[in-house]
Amino acid sequence: MPEVKEVLISIRNMTVSYETRLGAVSAVDGVSFDIFRGEILGLVGESGCGKSTLGKGLMRLMPSQGSVHGEIFFGDQDILKFTDDQMRDFRGRRISMIFQDPMTSLNPVQRIDEHLIEAIQVHEPQTNKMKALDRVKKLIERMGIQSNRLSSYPHQLSGGMRQRVMISLGLVLNASLIVADEATTSLDVIVEAKLVDEIKKIRNDFGVSILMITHNIALVANIADRLAVMYAGRMAEIGPIEQLFANPLHPYTQGLLACVPSIEIKDNENLYKMPGEPPNLTHPPSGCRFHPRCPYVMPVCKELDPKLVEGVPDQFVNCWLYQEQPVVNNPESR
């Protein structure tokens, strides 16, 4: 991590809502955070908490019934104010995305080189094919794929190779942010470990930022510089990874970390299970959305929404426990 953090993208009050028959549902509700240049930011949370929606919202890749509000500043431009054409040019060139399933995220009837060359030509139509091919060859060899595999079809590559091709699709245009949406979920642990290693290397070499959306907290602990925890469409906590693991502030983060299975066998100890279910986002709970499941719930939690504030230096938390409220219970004393 560089000492001076340069903000790459700052997201302010971002809301992604879907029009449904039951009314508007905000899958992401008023989220604000920054992504720094060259960092790996882990984004974790339960299923359905809005992680993937956040990732897609960053690229405005919503289905037609979804809409993104708020402000997303990339440099000094608000990408939510882009026209469709500007947005199309922005995608891929500045932010690219890697998807969950590497098996289906490449067009089965296009060869690998066609994918990569097309990615270049979409954004730089003046580049001729031979030059593009040279670039592609250099890059793909840097990614550890032999350049003679370029003429293969996606089904002829392994899952790890395809995922690397997907990453190359972002890198070939020098994207500054890669959104990896559960990019390693469907890979086996060995390939996953390799890929994680490579992602780190790519970050170091290319200086890209990576937003790693995942369920796998252990993986994130290994790779990320900072960790963001989402709950029910809100940002619960965000902070540097060591600090956050050592001292989780938000009760939800505490519970989430307690849920992570350990490889040590302890016969007498059951895995911690967080009580309750994640809320239905069509009718979110009043006040703090976590209050029905929170062990430290206070009267104020049911009434008012907390804000994301800096609990301890660099670590932001969205909880009344760390805001101007009488301290009912000191979490550190537990």
Partner: protein, 424 residues
Amino acid sequence: MKEIPQHPEIQLPKGDSVPQWQLDLDKAGWLRRALLARKWYGGDWWFVVISAIILLFFIVIGALPKWFAPYDPRAEVGPSLLAPGEPPAAFVFLTRSDSPVKEFKEVASSENNVGFVVASPASQALREALDELNAEEERQNTGIRYQPRPRRFDTIEEGLKALEDGEIDAFIEASATAKSIIGKYKTLKIADTLREAAIRGFTLGTNQIGQDIFSRLIWGTRIALMVGLSSALLSIMFGVPLGLVSAFSGGWLDRTLTLIMDALYSFPGLILAIAIAAVLGPSIMNIIISISVLYIPTYFRIVRGQVLSIREELYVDAARSLGAKKITILWKYIFPNVIPSIVIIFSVNVADAILTEAGLSFIGLGLPPDVPDWGIDLARGQDYVRRAWWLITFPGLMVTMVTLAFSMLGESLSEIMNPRLAEL
């Protein structure tokens, strides 16, 4: 692009296991695919070879019917209902014993009466003999025209009785029959041979008006291929783009198009084709149009369904996340994945179109009646099923073969075009 610092840790494996010529071959694209085709099919390569041979056969005879057809398909070239390979019988003419007539042309002037049994090959023999005589006179420019009055009798006995009574001057009969019956009539004699027995018959026989079936089949290939292929292509030209656009854009356009196509689809196929053909009138172009209208909804529905499912695939999302234009996504990501289904419907569709065309011609709404066409031949032949099996067997066989060949072709093509099956 900025300079990428070379990473020392990534070691490139040396790919020397693949020989250079194979790597060169890899760059050849479609050629390589063709060369590898044998491999894709494993033990089934003969399947492709057979379908290719059959289709090539049909295409060649469809393209060059003149080289293969021995006769004009529209002309009456022989006696009617001649079995395959059966040579036309010899014909003789009978006169009274006291008649001085030696040659047929002596009784062939317009004052003479010539008798024969009604609806027998004898009329054909008479016509041929007269044609020959007239042609000869015309060559010598004599101005003589032979045109005896034809008298038709229900049975041979009635005819010979009339000949005995002097009502007619000559009676024409097949030579075998004449020889067996002449003994009963003392006053009559076999005067001369009207037509010699032919050495060779017609390969596949003749139909009820004496046209050569073999020639008609060959000329019919051209019509069948033309109607089948162009109507299928016409349906593709309309159905596929509409399906692509409709599914991809969605909204009111999709709803409207789907409604129209479902309305078309809900008609029973042949009824709709009959209606359109009846309005447009019989001609080859019109029948192509009416058949293609029939199949547009099929393509539309298949393509639309495919696009709806492919649109949700991850690689389309991935393409969007790379900033690809909508038209690029449609053309490069969705359309190529739809092609295999189009090819399969196409092959079934060509065969089906040939059958529909035959059906339309069958009820008289298809092609003009003098066109050599398998459908028309089948329709006419069905009246003679018990007497002349060859009338419907051979056109039916041709329809079956073409259908089979196109189905096999479709299956082969769909495999060739599927890169997933191309192993390296």
